[in-house]
């Protein structure tokens, strides 16, 4: 269905090709997963499939890409719309119309499909993606999981046999991600659609993949099966790491398979002492929120929040999209004025603090890290922040050239830069909003390391995240928000094992034993052979 023959893509002004000498053939009806480190060239590979590279992005493409027999050299994206559907990282940015039905019909209108056929296809897609109840809803009022499904549906109605998805579940909370993945597997199995998806959250998708396409740091592509890829890859989800640790063969990719293989391990661990609860040095409280209420017009975003965080503590803030996590963070940095209640950060009211005083008290890495940038080069940006911003950046994301424009960085590199800039101000309290979007496992590992160091130095860290694995790995305490209220607040182990939606993979595999991460299991097995 998709054939790459000796494909090399070079962008203008780039030192090396983004992808080079790619030989790849993906047959019809497969779900191919594209993995690789942040900035390795995954997006370039995806965009080459429907001709956005090079027709839209510029650069030169050597070699040949054919999709369903059409050469992208002579077919620009618009002429491939009836074969390939492309869904970008932010579906909302790609919506052309106002409502769900019109969006589903848009591509068909461009292709000149007859109205009667259009009506039938729209109904089919509404049914198969579970969107029937949303048909008249304005697109901007949908949740992000629903938006993702509408975006997928809107390219399928055009008759696309190939679906190309860039990070389809990265920004979604766990239940919404499940909805999208369920829809995708149904499309592959029932309709024989070919799906090519890039995704960092391997723990969510690897079990559904038929093929793994690994883009290495040099832009070369390795095409393998999921099991083989996971045996050797440095990017691996917790379930695979546990399998490697326990030397299970064949290597399990899903929680189900791992749980079936884990009987012996569970029996062995049951006789061993439970891992230590991570206890932070009990520092003085630096974040104190009392009875905080926040209203927007007639919508109540937060209803009476009480929260305390101490020096040296890492708190994970979880909850589905729209539960009020970002609102709470905005109050902690004083961007919003509380409707009622008090907020104190490092002893000051952040809403009344500004300038360098605020920077010393509290720093926030926003969901859109690029908002923080205004200089033309990474070096200028780091110089503007002062401190050891550059050194920290090199630790978080090694190998970024100083003259790079901040907006040319990949998503993960942008996050690293934003974090370096904020931490350079040495804030007493560090806040992060969805820090793992677009971050690969090694990047995540480095982030965890830096956060632990900061906490050890007495910084209080609060991170809002959907990433249960990260929360399990790094946080002392987890707070779950739902509809503007705190529904759980306690040690991470107790909170994340209490509900399946927020439980990390290792907890699911080893339940009811209290191990949460591979590192904990490894440590236990190391001390008691």
């Amino acid at each position: 269905m998709i054939v790459f023959e000796a494909v090399t893509v070079t962008y203008p002004d780039a030192e090396r090709p983004a992808i080079r000498d790619v030989e790849l053939s993906i047959p019809e009806g497969e779900l191919a997963l594209v993995i690789g480190r942040t900035g390795a060239g995954k997006s370039t590979l995806l965009k080459a499939i429907n001709g956005l590279v090079p027709h839209f992005t510029g650069g030169t493409l050597a070699g040949r890409v054919t999709v369903d027999g059409r050469d992208t050299r002579s077919y620009p994206p618009r002429e491939l719309a009836d074969v390939v559907g492309y869904v970008g990282q932010d579906p909302l940015a790609g919506f052309v119309t106002d409502s769900v039905e019109e969006e589903l019909a848009y591509a068909m209108e461009s292709l000149g499909v007859s109205p009667t056929v259009m009506r039938r296809r729209v109904e089919d897609i509404l049914d198969s993606l579970g969107l029937t109840g949303l048909r008249h809803r304005p697109l901007r009022t949908l949740s992000s999981g629903e938006q993702q499904r509408v975006a997928i549906g809107s390219v399928l109605t055009a008759g696309a046999r190939v679906l190309v998805l860039d990070e389809p579940t990265s920004a979604l909370d766990p239940p919404a991600a499940d909805d999208v993945l369920a829809a995708l597997t149904r499309l592959v199995h029932d309709l024989g659609i070919t799906v090519v998806a890039a995704e960092h959250r391997l723990e969510r998708v690897i079990q559904y993949a038929d093929r793994v396409v690994h883009v290495d740091d040099g832009g070369r592509v390795h095409d393998t099966t999921p099991t083989v890829a996971m045996e050797n890859s440095i990017v691996a989800p917790p379930v695979v790491e546990l399998g490697r640790l326990a030397q299970w063969a064949p290597l399990p990719l899903s929680v189900r398979d791992a749980r079936r293989a884990a009987d012996a391990l569970r029996a062995q661990l049951a006789t061993m002492p439970a891992p230590h609860e991570r206890q932070p040095a009990v520092g003085q409280p630096v974040v104190s929120v009392r009875k905080l209420q926040a209203n927007y017009d007639d919508l109540v975003a937060l209803r009476g929040i009480d929260l305390l965080a101490r020096r040296g503590e890492i708190v994970a803030l979880m909850g589905r999209n729209g539960a009020g996590k970002s609102t709470l963070l905005a109050h902690l940095v004083g961007l919003n004025k509380p409707t009622a209640g008090q907020v104190a950060v490092a002893g000051h009211d952040p809403h009344r603090t500004s300038g360098s005083d605020l920077v010393r008290d509290v720093g926030l890495v926003p969901q859109e890290p690029a908002d923080l940038f205004w200089a033309d080069t990474v070096d200028d940006e780091c110089a503007g922040a002062g401190g050891d911003a550059r050194a920290l950046l090199d630790r978080l994301a090694p190998g970024i050239a100083g003259h790079t424009h901040p907006r040319d960085l990949s998503e993960g590199q942008r996050l690293a830069l934003a974090l370096a800039l904020v931490v350079a101000g040495k804030p007493t309290v560090l806040l992060l909003d969805e820090p793992t979007r677009g971050l690969d496992y090694p990047g995540k590992g480095r982030l965890v390391h830096v956060l632990r160091e900061l906490a050890a130095d007495g910084t209080a860290v609060i991170l809002a995240t959907h990433d249960v694995e990260l929360a399990a790995e790094v946080s002392h305490r987890t707070v779950v928000l739902a509809d503007g209220e705190i529904v759980a607040d306690g040690p991470t182990r107790e909170v994340v094992t209490a509900s399946p939606a927020f439980a990390p993979q290792i907890a699911k595999i080893l339940a009811p034993l209290p191990w949460l991460t591979v590192a904990q299991v490894r440590a236990t097995l190391a001390v008691t052979p």
Partner: protein, 383 residues
């Protein structure tokens, strides 16, 4: 959605009908400075919007109302500062500031008179009414739906407008986000210098998003070459544009009371003929199709007719009672309400009852989650 099958199903009217109705009201407003008539016009527009607003543009009407008030206030303030009247009932005595020679003809300061003030209020009210009429069109049928109803020959222009329309709100959203982010890095977030500092990142961000939109449209088949030859398409497009330009000039001639209407009418007929001919000629290729094309039936005719009735009432009133539509301030008089204008305005209210209500947006049928968009999250630091 069982109501769809009970009796006559509610359906959204053709957007063109609502725009014709609103533009007829706006044209009527250009014919008068009588404050009673203008306020009645605003009430008619506001009432109809409340009764039949489109679910996709719920907030825009309030915005236009506010804009109207701002225009009125600015007009009055300018008149007080620059437009001193030499004669009339003096309300407040203010000395005149002498201006240099190059500003001859301008006054600064001067007595504020009742006559001058009222003239300014009437003029401002007329502008505000025009804005409200356009706002009502915007609220009754989203401009995007109107664009969808455009003939195929004008499609490219329509898409350019769609992208442009999405650029402005994105610019505003980006400005809010970047200003807030500046605060996070300890920089001042207000004042001229901060605005200069954020201009580049804001533009970059909004541009990036618009390019993303363009890429999405391209990958979904926008602008596919049909079977039509490029030359023929270009011919059709330019004919349509030429026709519309002629219509625009003609309408201007007709609206401007001082210009001779001799050129206006023939130009209008000619322009319409060229545009329609080109659309019919160019619309024959099935390169694009429409999902649920908007249909035009009796209710649409009623809406258009009621708008035209309001305009006709205004014209008749102007003919029968000359001067009643332009309330004079020398001498000060109580404004009159000529009956033909009143009848026209009452007829303009018909659509508020005669049409079926717009289909409300079903909430929460399969979506337990809160609507995200009008909600707090986008306004925050993140998106």
């Amino acid at each position: 959605m069982s109501t769809l099958h009970a009796g006559r199903p509610p359906r959204a009217l053709h957007p063109g009908a609502w725009w014709a109705w609103s533009l007829a009201l706006a044209t009527a407003a250009t014919r008068t400075t009588n404050p009673i008539v203008l306020l009645l016009l605003v009430s008619v527009a506001a009432f109809t919007v409340t009764a039949r607003r489109s679910p996709h543009s719920s907030r825009s009407f309030a915005l236009f109302l506010r804009l109207g008030v701002v225009v009125l206030v600015v007009r009055v303030v300018f008149d007080i500062v620059f437009g001193a009247q030499p004669t009339g009932e003096v309300l407040v005595r203010v000395p005149t500031v002498p201006l240099p020679d190059w500003a001859a003809g301008l006054h600064l300061g001067g007595n504020i008179t009742a006559q001058g003030l009222l003239t300014a209020v009437y003029g401002g009210l007329q502008l505000a009414t025009l804005l409200v009429c356009v706002g009502s069109a915007n609220a009754l049928a989203s401009p995007r739906r109107l664009l969808r109803a455009m003939p195929g020959a004008l499609y490219e222009a329509g898409v350019a407008i769609t992208v442009a329309m999405s650029f402005a709100p994105q610019l505003a959203a980006a400005a809010v986000r970047v200003r807030r982010a500046r605060r996070l890095r300890g920089r001042p977030s207000s004042g001229v210098r901060s605005w200069l500092g954020i201009a580049v990142p804001v533009l970059e961000d909004a541009l990036e998003r618009s390019i993303e939109l363009a890429a999405a449209m391209d990958s979904r088949g926008f602008g596919r070459r049909g079977t039509v030859s490029a030359a023929r398409r270009r011919l059709v497009s330019s004919a349509v544009v030429a026709g519309l330009v002629a219509v625009a000039i003609a309408v201007y001639e007709l609206l401007d009371a001082t210009s001779p209407t001799l050129i206006g009418l023939p130009l209008l007929v000619l322009g319409t003929a060229i545009a329609c001919g080109a659309v019919l000629f160019g619309g024959r290729e099935p390169t694009r199709t429409k999902y649920r094309p908007d249909s035009w039936h009796a209710p649409e005719w009623v809406v258009v007719a009621s708008g035209v009735a309001a305009l006709a009432g205004m014209l008749v009133a102007g003919r029968l009672y000359p001067g009643s539509l332009h309330t004079t301030t020398y001498p000060l008089v109580v404004p009159q309400l000529p009956w033909p204008a009143l009848v026209g305005l009452v007829l303009a209210l018909i659509p508020a009852w005669a049409t079926s209500p717009q289909i409300p947006v079903p909430q929460g049928i399969s979506a337990p989650r809160q609507p995200v968009a009008d909600s707090p999250e986008p306004a925050e630091v993140g998106r």
